[in-house]
């Protein structure tokens, strides 16, 4: 448990790319073990927010505090912060020249300095838990999209992160493969993992999230429990967005 009781606090975060302001003052808190889903149209800033939390992108203004430590301070060691925050990308980004096992053990061995035997034993345990035990020796391009994404999730989990960021992890998958990846995320939520999830899967967000945040043009317009947001959204923009989603048959 961190000093302030929050796994993540985002305070007034702004992010500009050149003259384009993508995040226009985001405030967001996650309690430990909480699962928060970010919904909103493409380009609303969901991915950028996740990348700022992971320090992949420096924020232009504002603070991000993880477990009581301000990670946006210029004095922190970004490499150390990233070890504790797992991120999974839409495009998997597995290392194609390494087997699944090598993908998963790379960071534990090189960053945490674990022995090969120890890292592999832990990796195999995680792979087995997510149904990939028989794929440990395969190269990523021999795996289905769903298997690749599960392997990417395992790779992030191998660092024992305190917080997981999922960036539209099912968007690049064939529809019939989405289920297996959502199943993995569901299991993570049940095991108490704190997660911030950007997603287009509204029914999944409704099922898994403790809280849903609707992002629009770089601000959180509305947030609340999923039943509230999905059943009776207060903001007209949220209503419009959900109407379009329903029309597209995704809810």
């Amino acid at each position: 448990m961190s000093a302030d009781g929050y796994a993540l606090r985002v305070e007034g975060v702004r992010k500009s790319f050149g003259r384009l302001e993508v995040l226009k003052g985001i405030d967001l808190v996650l309690a430990e073990h909480e699962v928060v889903c970010l919904i909103g149209a493409s380009g609303s800033g969901k991915s950028t927010l996740l990348r700022c939390v992971n320090l992949t992108e420096p924020v232009t203004a504002g603070r991000i505090v993880v477990e009581g430590e301000e990670i946006t301070s210029p004095r922190v060691d970004a490499n150390r912060i990233r070890q504790n925050i797992g991120i999974v990308f839409q495009a998997f980004n597995l290392f194609p020249h390494m087997t699944v096992l090598e993908n998963v053990t790379l960071a534990p061995r090189k960053v945490l300095r674990k022995s090969k035997a120890e890292a592999e034993a832990e990796a195999l345990k995680l792979l087995a838990r997510f149904g990939l035990a028989d794929k440990a020796g395969e190269y990523p391009d021999r795996l289905s999209g769903g298997q690749q994404q599960r392997a990417a999730i395992v790779r992030a989990l191998a660092m024992r992160p305190r917080l997981m960021l999922l960036d539209e992890v099912t968007s690049a998958l064939d529809p019939e493969l989405v289920g297996e990846v959502l199943g993995v995320i569901r299991e993570l939520a049940e095991s108490g993992m704190t997660m911030l999830i950007a997603t287009h899967e509204m029914s999944f967000a409704r099922e898994i999230a403790n809280r849903v945040c609707f992002l629009d043009a770089g601000v959180i317009l509305e947030e609340g429990p999923p039943e509230e947001i999905f059943r009776a959204p207060a903001n007209p923009r949220t209503q419009e967005f959900l109407h379009r989603i329903i029309a597209a048959g995704r809810l």
Binding site: N54, F89, F95, A107, A156
Partner: protein
């Protein structure tokens, strides 16, 4: 693509027949040329060929040594330059500028000039502690020139790896150097192996340029043989030796290119 059965045998026969016809035409054209008897005496003399077999292959060992030693240093130096050039941020501007100036300069100046300038200039500095041998400076010149070319090959490889790979590595807590070493470079080098080997072949041939400074390698030895017998056959032997050394490397390059293409196609089908 591999043809099978009867059509395979048929294409082998066609290839064989057309090769024989081509060879016969070339041989007839050359041997019926008016000057052929003189050329045959001067370039294809069996007696002098056998005689030079006793000295030239031995001298050729020096070419191989120059090649092997230079190659090791080229691979390391070129990698350092390529990494300098790919460093981001304003802090590293001097290193980037240095790398660019280096590659521009040594790719621009003719190899033969670099060899002359270093071979005759550097020993003249009389700095204590650095060797003054012609062979040493010849190898240094080859290393400097080829490292410039090879660094560009490396750089192309590094830039061909998608930035999301580095992002994934960094997100796991790997430092920039670790991401480069374990994630980016292994993929980059795999992709540029064929052009890398191509530069090796160029280097094999350019080892003969070291002769300009005095060391007696195969080319220099064949010059000595030629001028003492007034017969050019030793040049032919030297050329043969270079070709024999090049062929395995050239086939290896072809094979690697074919394998890479096969892998990409297989991946394309799977996707």
């Amino acid at each position: 693509m591999r043809a099978s059965g009867a059509s395979g045998a048929r294409s082998v026969l066609i290839a064989l027949a057309s090769t024989v016809v081509f060879a016969v035409v070339v041989v007839l054209a050359v041997s019926n040329a008016p000057g052929w008897p003189a050329v045959k005496r001067q370039f294809f003399n069996r007696e002098f060929f056998v005689e030079s077999l006793e000295v030239i292959p031995e001298a050729f060992l020096l070419n191989i040594r120059i090649f092997l030693i230079a190659e090791v240093f080229i691979l390391v130096l070129a990698l350092v330059i390529a990494i300098f050039r790919s460093l981001p941020g304003p802090v590293f501007f001097p290193l980037r500028a240095l790398a660019i100036a280096y590659a521009d300069f040594f790719r621009g100046v003719p190899t033969i000039l670099v060899i002359y300038l270093l071979g005759f200039g550097a020993p003249g500095l009389e700095i204590s502690g650095i060797p003054r041998g012609a062979l040493f400076w010849g190898v240094v010149a080859l290393v400097l020139v080829y490292a410039a070319y090879v660094s560009e090959v490396y750089r192309a490889g590094i830039e061909s790896v998608h930035p999301s790979q580095e992002a994934a590595a960094r997100s796991l807590g790997l430092s920039r150097a670790q991401a480069l070493r374990f994630v980016i470079l292994p993929q980059a080098v795999r992709r540029v192996l064929p052009p890398l080997l191509n530069d090796f072949i160029g280097l094999q041939k350019d080892t003969a340029l070291v002769a300009l400074l005095g060391p007696v390698e195969a080319f220099r030895q064949s010059q000595i043989e030629v001028s003492s017998n007034f017969n050019y056959t030793p040049y032919l032997l030297t050329a043969l030796l270079f070709v024999l050394l090049t062929i395995p490397l050239a086939r290896l390059t072809d094979w690697l290119i074919a394998r890479e293409r096969g892998r990409r196609l297989a991946a394309g089908v799977a996707a």
